[in-house]
Symmetry: C2
Subunit: 147 residues, 2 copies
């Protein structure tokens, strides 16, 4: 749960710094700025958006650094990527209700048919501001070929 109090964010940044030292990566001002920006919002920003926000107070930062840093953080489990399959649009002619599992290594997608996934109650949820059209469960894992 995000709380927009400065103290809460400072605490998360402190934890990030400790964790970075444990993991053996260097704590640079760029990395702190990127982590802090991400920890300060629940808007799930893109790389470009993070870059632009940081440039307001850190004009010399490079977009390349933001890309590389987010990738590093994600690989180490310090942050997560919301959309695993962001590389290219993937299409499906099968309109029956079903779900998907993606291999985090080769990005292959397979279908998952499971009634317990298909019958989730999405009507009464805390989605007050949204007109919900649908949902799907995306599992992630490593396929047999990549193991």
């Amino acid at each position: 749960m995000i709380e927009n109090s400065a103290g809460f964010i400072e605490q998360r940044v402190s934890e990030f710094i400790s964790r970075s030292k444990e993991l053996g990566i260097k704590v640079t001002p760029q990395r702190v700025a990127i982590y802090k920006e991400l920890a300060s919002t629940d808007q799930h920003p893109s790389t470009e958006i993070i870059y632009n926000k940081i440039r307001d107070y850190y004009p010399n930062i490079s977009l390349t650094t933001v890309y590389r840093t987010l990738e590093t953080f994600e690989k180490l489990g310090l942050i997560s990527v919301v959309n695993v399959l962001y590389n290219a649009a993937r299409y499906d002619a099968n309109l029956d209700p079903h779900h998907h599992i993606v291999c985090t290594q080769c990005k292959k997608v397979e279908d998952v048919y499971d009634e317990s996934f298909t019958n989730l109650d999405v009507s009464e949820k805390t989605l007050g501001d949204y007109k919900v059209e649908g949902y799907s469960v995306l599992l992630s894992g490593v396929c047999i070929d990549c193991r």
Copy 2:
């Protein structure tokens, strides 16, 4: 459920042609080829992959056409896009279990906390070939600002 019999695919292509006429879009050889390619696989191909497969027997087709056609089909509900948020990577510093809802119009993402989503049983599923690492539910809808 995809069945790889030629007859089954032919039937789906026929339905596609009828539906196209109902919807008032023109049935071109390119469109039929694209639909047929997508209906013949459960691999959830990208635009580029569909393009390359079609070029084996239809060398003049343009990648632009494949992009535009898939977009058209998706808007009309003839196919669906597996990864709504494919435009750019979106990151999250919040590692607590939670889910997301995306506005299909402005692509804004918000958090959803719901225990019934968080307690799905993913251990005994028909995911035999995968080492499952996790999952998340992605709801889609239209946010209040876009209505």
